[in-house]
Symmetry: C2
Subunit: 306 residues, 2 copies
């Protein structure tokens, strides 16, 4: 039974847990259809792509994409390919980021990283293939919307490109071991994390033929919830155990990486995360209660402990 | 003065040297406009992207793209963004291919490879950024053609993706040191080289609003000239010096890589290259003499000594 988002027709309170469960099954099934089969040549590459895509990600970005589509009165299904594209970009960036030449991570979400399992050569190529696949998936606009495929591709290319996602990675790489100011840290987090979350909700809205005003609201929401998400990640890296996180805790500090707690202190970092979440919440006002899933997700992301 | 391609109005014989010179200047100027400036943040990334894009490439792919547009009665300028996109894909694939985990090359076209100059981390990211930029560049179809931006993006995504360009890299990587059959070698060369050359001429034709029949002819031409190009590369690796090639000669043999000379013998490899070039030539018949630049380039590629 699909989750009803129309307040008037809801017979029971909105359950985020149930919503996330249903939506993540939907996106997992879609990714399974979109990803090349492991049985087809080149097998190693396809296995490697699938290994990281199905390594236990929470599907936060594609679910935000679907929730944005629903907030705009559209169907989650119309946004699936775009959510999948964003997940491919996210996964590719993790695979490349984990390489020894970059973050040098052996574990991710409790599993061995791609290059540990498949070797660095295949890991580089699997990342490349996922990035390329994202553009293939996003290359078809739903019928009868004011947004054409060129708008979707442009949004993804700009977000994933040299001035956003990759700029964030570069600044992160170059900032290691150096004293980083709060504004520099914000620059990194905006690009490494916030940009792709913003892209996810924008694409969802566009797939649902959102109005320019709605697109603006989603952009504001995505930016703030994305930045909050990363500030909370920084906090959890300090306060939680590796087991809880599914990755090495305290890694940022060990790698001498700047984080919000290290730059502004733990208490201030918590205050910033709350403030950003409030801003994200406020951005949803124009949806007049239709953005219930987005609201619930912002709240959940703030309060999560892993 | 632009090179005239209309036989009747030509006052002097077609000079390929002059054509290549004028066209490569045009594409270099376009790439300079399209690539992010080295003076903008993140500088290291932008410098790294530019370093490899402007490392002395012959611009074969974008020039083929322009020549295909002209053969279809279009303007070279309409195909520039697509030629540049293909060159970005080509450059990204070289940067990643040169990494220690893949081909481990220190020199390319007589210059140090990207990771030697900028480090592996930045080299991975510069490749990623160029791949992403390619989709941004190719995301606008010329006005009034039967081909929309979605057709251009689809062509590039399929060519650069897991079943073509990257499949070729994987097969190449996995074939090292193993006995490779002629059909396996053809599989690699089709994907690593021929696919992107085919893509270049197809995009050029599409930018010039080519007919389906012309697109078919360009596909046939691209496939054969692309495969011939790689067979000749294999031959030159055996027969020429490093100085002449601008890269380490005999490297394929040293890396125990299968090549046409090693699999079918040098004489047979030469015969195959000639046969493929003839096929490429024959594919151009529907253009009735308008594809003079493409013809001359096929001939030049066969006879080149570096």
């Amino acid at each position: 039974m699909p989750v009803s988002l129309n307040k008037s027709s809801r017979t029971q309170p909105f359950s985020l847990k149930r919503y996330l469960n249903i939506r993540s099954k939907k996106i997992n099934a879609a990714l399974n259809r979109y990803l090349p089969k492991s049985s087809t040549k080149p097998k190693t590459l396809h296995e490697s792509m699938r290994y990281s895509v199905f390594a236990g990600g929470k599907r936060l970005r594609p679910i935000l994409c679907m929730a944005a589509a629903e907030a705009c009165g559209g169907k989650a299904d119309d946004s699936l390919a775009f959510g999948a594209a964003v997940e491919c970009i996210h996964t590719y960036s993790l695979i490349h980021d984990d390489l020894p030449a970059l973050d040098n991570d052996d574990y991710r979400r409790g599993n061995k990283t791609n290059h540990i399992v498949f070797g660095q050569g295949i890991a580089v190529l699997a990342g490349d293939a996922l990035l390329t696949l994202a553009f293939e998936l996003a290359n078809k606009a739903p019928a009868n919307t004011r947004y054409k495929s060129t708008h979707f591709i442009s949004e993804i290319a700009k977000t994933a490109g040299h001035s956003q996602l990759i700029a964030g990675q570069v600044a992160d790489l170059e900032g290691e071991g150096k004293s980083v100011s709060k504004s520099q840290l914000k620059y990194i987090h905006e690009r490494k994390t916030s940009a792709l979350l913003t892209c996810a909700v924008k694409l969802g809205g566009m797939a649902a033929n959102c109005t320019p005003r709605q697109l603006e609201a989603l952009t504001e929401f995505g930016y703030n919830v994305g930045l909050a998400f990363q500030v909370i990640d920084d906090i959890l890296d300090v306060t939680q155990t590796s087991k809880k996180l599914g990755k090495t805790a305290g890694k940022d500090e060990a790698a001498q990486k700047a984080t919000y707690p290290s730059v502004v202190g733990l208490d201030n970092a918590r205050k910033i995360a709350t403030k950003l979440t409030t801003k994200a919440y406020d951005a949803l006002k124009p949806f007049k209660g239709r953005a219930i899933a987005l609201e619930a997700m912002a709240d959940y992301l703030l309060k999560r402990d892993h």
